[in-house]
């Protein structure tokens, strides 16, 4: 297999509150000999909120982000489900509405850029599962995750709306997604089947509707725990923030203690590929995740 090369759109969280996401992603890429070129010019995708305020501005900024991947001529990979959907929705709009694209390009021309629609955008999860391939990952496992029952939490913005997502997620069924389950299998962990795995974590209303956010986060975490999960894993750092940081608040609201390590998808892969404790970055978790490293090698 020739070397895989991608333009990496890190998103904001990987550069700020979840440094462990970036370090584990780069560690996985190094282990698998995947070349990731970080798009340092990129700006925030608007996180599904900017478009509520100003949809045109959101499209212009995301078109600019895509332009930089186009300059490299590489498929853009994302580390965050919400970045993925915002960039993919921008691409969808511009690729199918020539008048609108002209309006956006008129703005981009002022900074010497032009959106062409020449590259694909996919989440790193699907770069690993569909491009690199599960069998190839399996062959590289140094620390089988057989000590863990792992609950996959897919995150909305990788699986819905399916018509858009099917262009980059290998045709995932939004009511029965399987990619993360298969990845856990390939790493020799035990995937946990539970009803909340394709549900919403509530992150996007955390400020204005904390009761809703805590209810959704708490329900999903407890569902995983009640199905004997030792770890939850998610490809989305926004789900991760809610699931990791809000365990105390969500548990208080639910009237139960909640304590479960929540890993980013690349952290789980990094663990199985034998990356270092530093690279995996388990110290950056609010819930107790440090123990996972020792337990993996027990």
């Amino acid at each position: 297999m020739s070397q895989l090369r991608y333009a990496l759109y890190t998103g904001c969280t990987a550069k700020e509150s979840t440094p462990e996401l970036l370090s584990s992603t780069l560690a996985v890429a190094k282990k698998l000999d995947i070349e990731l070129i970080i798009l340092e010019e990129a700006s925030c995708c608007g996180a599904s909120h900017l478009q509520d305020f100003d949809p045109f501005l959101s499209h212009v900024l995301n078109a600019r982000n895509i332009c930089y991947a186009e300059k490299l001529g590489l498929t853009m990979v994302t580390l965050c489900n919400t970045c993925q959907i915002n960039l993919a929705m921008t691409k969808e709009k511009l690729d199918h509405d020539a008048d609108y694209r002209a309006k956006v390009n008129a703005k981009l021309a002022e900074v010497g850029l032009e959106y062409q629609g020449s590259v694909d955008i996919k989440h790193f999860l699907y770069a690993l599962v569909d491009d690199f391939g599960l069998e190839n990952i399996k062959a590289k496992v140094e620390v089988p995750l057989s000590n863990f029952n792992i609950a996959p939490f897919y995150g909305c913005h990788n699986i819905r709306p399916s018509e858009l997502q099917h262009k980059s997620n290998g045709g995932e069924n939004p009511y029965n997604p399987t990619s993360l389950d298969h990845l856990i299998d390939a790493l020799e962990g035990h995937p946990v089947n539970y009803a909340s795995k394709n549900k919403c974590c509530g992150f996007h209303v955390d400020l204005q509707a904390p009761h809703t956010s805590n209810a959704l986060t708490g329900t999903a975490l407890l569902d995983a725990i009640d199905n004997n999960a030792d770890i939850m894993v998610t490809p989305c750092p926004l789900c991760h923030l809610n699931m990791d940081i809000k365990q105390r608040g969500a548990g208080k609201q639910a009237g139960r203690d909640i304590s479960i390590p929540v890993l980013h998808m690349p952290q789980m892969v990094a663990l199985a590929l034998g990356c270092t404790y530093e690279e995996i970055g388990l110290k950056y978790h609010v819930s107790n995740a440090k123990k996972v490293f020792a337990e993996a090698t027990k």
């Binding site: 904001c12 969280t13 550069k15 700020e16 509150s17 440094p19 340092e40 010019e41 990129a42 700006s43 925030c44 608007g46 996180a47 599904s48 909120h49 900017l50 478009q51 509520d52 305020f53 100003d54 949809p55 045109f56 501005l57 212009v60 900024l61 600019r64 959907i85 703005k107 981009l108 002022e110 900074v111 909305c156 913005h157 819905r160 709306p161 399916s162 069924n173 009511y175 029965n176 009803a195 549900k199 919403c200 509530g202 992150f203 996007h204 209303v205 400020l207 204005q208 509707a209 009761h211 809703t212 956010s213 959704l216 940081i245 809000k246 105390r248 608040g249 110290k283 950056y284 609010v286």
Partner: protein
Amino acid sequence: MSNTKKITIKAFRFNAETDYLPYYKSYEMEVGKDELVLDLLNRIKWEHDGSFSYRRSCRHGICGACGIKVNGKPVLSCKENAFDMIDLFGDELIFEPQSKKRAIKDMIIDKGDFWAKHAAVKPFVDAVIDEHPTHETKMSQEEVENILDADYCIQCGNCHYACPSLEVNEEYFGPAAFVAAYRFTADPRDNSGKERLEMTSKIGPGVWDCVKCFECAEACPKDINPIEKITKLHNLQFEQNVAQSNVATRHAEGFVRSIKKHGFLDEADIVKYSEGPIGVLKHMGDAIAMMKAGKIHITDQIPFMGNMPKSKNLDEIKKLVKISQTNKL
């Protein structure tokens, strides 16, 4: 490929008048390639148990009566081919009502909350109509297109009962009511747009409580994409100066503030800016936990000391914000 498949249907059974708890009953049947989910519901009733209850009427995908969930997927029974469901979920299909907690009998639910919310947004053109007009009043092509496909809603309730926000917040209007609110607000003949925008901008019942899960887009049998209309309502609030400054509107607008300055979102600043100086205090517990874990740093909000990353070519971003921003709070 075989023209029939043998499957097991596990159907939710409950009679609110006699049962304490619901239960599931299995029915085995040979399904033909042209059969619809509605045909399978009929066959349970006709071939197995005459007391099995569900709503049905037009069989043409227009009355909106026969919405149920198959393995968690909201479907309009008369539009959904059974083989497609078997392709998605295998040979065990689980039939459940749209909302289990609202079940009256088997697939039949009390849809009262749906109708009350739908009615509350004034789902009609509010206008004084001249009963004897002397000339035709025409809508421009642009005005027609602006209504989008919001007019195709058949009030089946699939999106409403797929919405997780509504499931935990009873006062939330829900996606179908928002589609109706948008459809009539976008109608040039209508005079109640502002009232609807005010109604749907309130935190709690309004659009700001949308969790952005896209369950509604996935659930709609008419491919209406309700969340697109929810976003339109958000936008109209700003365009028509209905938006009040509150935690949700500042959160949406605050992204511009960060992006102009850093390219990236300043995660701590957006919470401070959205919540205001008093509101932010309730996040102190989480902030301290995040500091302990090294996720955020005490110096982050001090100029020149923080770790805030900056995008390369930030000047481009600043310029694009300046020339592209269309809305204001």
